[in-house]
């Protein structure tokens, strides 16, 4: 008599990646929350200055960067589905595509900074631009760190590290990248739109 296969539904409540990475992400989100609340309070105290400052920002550049980061995050999410299916090479190609969109983000952000510098606007111009440069540059540093992490998991995937469903390292890297995206979707309307 053959032993019939039994499908067991394991509890699906599994936190992707490493617990340590989620605590790190929480810490990062908390720091940015303080920045965002500080920016909002400063705007209420200096409404005219902030209104003029926002008018000097390039909204289309902000939108391009939003689309670049969201699209980058999308490719990272798809890369994870490929790793789940043990299609590592395809995952690497998707990660490289994600990094290409991140490079678009960085290029536009540098262009924005240079355009402001050409107008004589610096971090010392006023409170609005102090906060603008601090918050966006801090976020840019996270994008750069995220790119390093994506490069690391792409390298590891290419060399066959994520096999037999041992993909927590890959998931941790992708979660960090989505955090960068999550922060930008708050930062963008706060600084550029409202």
């Amino acid at each position: 008599m053959t032993n019939p296969s039994i499908a067991i539904e394991l509890p699906d409540k599994k936190l992707p990646g490493d617990l340590a990475m989620w605590f790190f992400i929480l810490a990062e989100l908390t720091v940015f929350a303080i920045f965002f609340i500080g920016f909002s309070v400063s705007e209420q105290l200096n409404a005219e200055m902030f209104s003029q400052g926002k008018a000097q920002l390039h909204q289309t550049a902000g939108l391009i960067n939003t689309i670049a980061l969201i699209t980058s995050s999308f490719f990272v999410a798809i890369a994870l589905t490929k790793i789940h299916k043990a299609q590592a090479k395809q995952a690497v190609l998707l990660l490289l595509t994600a990094k290409a969109f991140a490079i678009i983000y960085i290029s536009v952000k540098i262009w924005e900074y240079l355009s402001l510098f050409e107008q004589g606007i610096t971090i010392e111009t006023n409170t609005f631009f102090t906060l603008y440069f601090l918050i966006t540059a801090f976020h840019l540093m996270h994008v750069l760190l995220g790119m390093v992490i994506l490069a690391f998991i792409a390298y590891s995937a290419w060399h066959g590290k994520y096999q037999n469903n041992e993909i927590s390292g890959f998931e941790a890297g992708t979660s960090y990248w989505h955090m960068v995206d999550l922060l930008w979707i708050i930062l963008f309307p706060l600084i550029y739109v409202i």
């Binding site: 936190l15 902000g62 999308f74 708050i186």
Partner: protein, 95 residues
């Protein structure tokens, strides 16, 4: 585990769900930037922009971060962040 058992634990994000989220996120981003042109009163477009942030955040948390199938505590923690922060900001802006 008994021989012959099949482990079934594959509730991960699929490509269709990720694609839908991506398109929604792009559409909402475009709407957000043009809000001031369609809504005269700053209070209204401030609230609308922050509601859009909540919707976008939920998509990223649930679909991209795959927290939809994570332990409830972690999902609620991140959904709380993406809801409470815009709420606090809107209170600051509207008072």
């Amino acid at each position: 585990m008994r021989k012959g058992n099949v482990v079934k634990n594959n509730k991960t994000v699929n490509m269709a769900a990720a694609t839908k989220s991506w398109l929604l996120l792009i559409a909402l981003s475009v709407i957000a930037i043009y809000l001031p042109e369609f809504v005269d009163h700053k209070s209204f477009y401030t609230i609308a922009a922050l509601v859009i942030v909540v919707i976008k955040g939920q998509q990223i948390v649930d679909i991209f971060m795959e927290l939809k199938n994570a332990p409830k505590f972690w999902r609620l923690l991140f959904l709380s962040y993406i809801t409470l922060l815009p709420l606090i900001i809107s209170v600051i802006y509207l008072t």
